[in-house]
Symmetry: C2
Subunit: 327 residues, 2 copies
């Protein structure tokens, strides 16, 4: 039973997980969908009510019956490195690959449907509320008057993009910034804007959830930090990430979120206020974890490897017992 990792070539985070899978003797096939039709090939046959599929990568053949799990770890665009790449070939190759993989019984980290849904910030905020996570008062609007009314009720605001990252190549994160007093908000009419009550934070929290396991880290706000810089990704603070205990009720809410979102991996960002409350900011379904592991020594890569190596679904296990797996 093999773990399939869909990733681009130079992903060191994938390397960290592969090391643990290799050490545990778990078969791994790592491939980049960008190599489809060059060094990666696929085939699937639908005959007499049954499906038999295969992938080959760098001369290695993998039966899709023998798939234990699929890790979608920042894969390249399908067929991007083909001899004659085109949007049409990308569409065909992508549909063929993901269409076949979707029909297997493998477990996903994360399933493409769940991943797509989980990227929607407005949906995240609602899901966090329904799961019982504290959410700072937030407005997403293209009505200037709604923005003005909100700013009157919550004078200390930050603004951030609705969609997370600027769609350029390479993607660039747009920092969360404070809204200056007396802002006019007329420009809101030209693009939906996300305004959120600023949490006066004493620490940033990164909670990495891998299935039922949760590893939290905490980075204290240093008194001398620039109060204008609210986005930890752009801060030059020297305080390191330290392991933190997950408050039990918050942990239950995180698990409820993951269940409803059908995610097996999620990187949650919270802001801890002076009362110790963790305010939900976002959940990135493909968030990095290397920097936390380096600072805290928490075994995140190993935990992911263990999840990927875990028992497959009923269907995959049956195929295994019947000896139909090729690797």
């Amino acid at each position: 039973m093999t773990v399939l990792i869909l990733t681009c070539e130079e992903d060191v985070t994938a390397d960290m997980v592969v090391v643990h899978l290799n050490a545990a003797g778990v078969p791994v096939v790592r491939l980049d969908p960008a190599d489809l039709t060059s060094t990666v090939a696929l085939s699937g046959e639908y005959v007499h009510g049954a499906f038999r599929g295969h992938l080959s990568s760098a001369g290695r053949l993998l039966s899709l019956d023998g798939l234990r799990s699929v890790w979608v770890r920042r894969p390249g665009t399908a067929a991007a490195r083909a001899a004659e790449p085109s949007p049409w070939l990308t569409e065909e190759a992508s549909q063929a690959l993901y269409g076949m993989l979707r029909g297997t019984g493998a477990r996903w980290m994360n399933h493409p449907d769940a991943a797509m849904r989980a990227r929607h910030k407005p949906w995240q905020l609602r899901q966090a509320q329904l799961s019982g996570l504290p959410v700072p008062a937030t407005l997403i609007t293209s009505f200037p008057q709604a923005a003005r009314d909100f700013a009157e009720r919550y004078p200390d605001l930050v603004v951030k993009p609705v969609s997370g990252a600027h769609p350029q190549d390479p993607p660039r994160a747009v920092p969360t910034t404070r809204v200056p007093p007396g802002a006019d908000f007329a420009a809101v009419a030209y693009g939906p804007t996300l305004l959120q009550r600023r949490v006066a934070k004493r620490a940033d929290i990164r909670l990495t959830a891998v299935g039922a396991r949760m590893l939290a880290a905490r980075k204290e706000t240093v008194p001398g930090d620039d109060p204008e810089v609210v986005d930890v990704r752009f801060a030059s603070s020297s305080s390191p990430w330290r392991p933190a205990d997950v408050p039990p009720r918050l942990g239950e809410a995180v698990q409820a979120y993951l269940r409803e979102a059908q995610l097996s991996y999620g990187a949650f960002d919270f802001a801890e206020d002076a009362d110790g409350t963790w305010w939900f900011l976002e959940c990135n379904q493909s968030g990095q974890f290397g920097f936390v592991e380096v600072d805290t020594g928490q075994p995140i890569a190993r935990t992911i490897a263990e999840w990927l190596a875990g028992p497959g679904t009923e269907r995959a296990r049956n195929a295994d017992r019947c000896g139909t797996t090729a690797s």
Copy 2:
């Protein structure tokens, strides 16, 4: 409780459904996401664990609490008609609109996640098999040798695109065509190819499923038809679509497919062979139905209108009872 229709301006099929909704006195808001930030605006507030959202279109305000259902009927690209359109604005507007709508309790025809999944032809074929629909022997491959082996077992083949339509603007359907005898298949290595046993058909079947209701139509193959033209979309046959009865076991299989696919609408294409067996070719989750309704007189538009006007979910109904709906 309002029906929201996301569609482009000139969609006559949407018009047909709106006529029935109007006749039944069901409130309808029709908007094109392309008009976001010009004539369409949105706002959503997340405060104290609750969400309150609004959409405005052409001066009409709609509370998202009061949404009965959402019909995704070929909507335009979000913010495409904005004063200064850009990929970034499209991403922000799309995430804001669909992210908010995803958080409501409305019923969807079809939900975006289900729609995305349902477009994958390899997944469709596997789902059809698992649902008990007869599927002609099919191979999707980028291995030339696999194609040659398959052609030896099934000498009478058709070839069709994996992904359905050529991704150009406007989209162009690529016709299904017969594979000439002695084909070499070397080119298969340059792009995944879908080969399928040709069904010697005596009729084409279009089964339109709207929730639990199924309306089937049959178009007989005329003996004089060009046997090289296997794709009914490109045939010049003069035989019209006629209503047909759905065989009970096939109807159960179609319902199983829709349940597993979480689709509330699907246009199924079958080929009927000399024994009367309906062979599954594909299920288009946004398939046209106007031409069938015109030929057969079957009330497809009315059936869709009835589904959209049906009772909302528990959450939406509660909101209705509490009088929080604006329209």
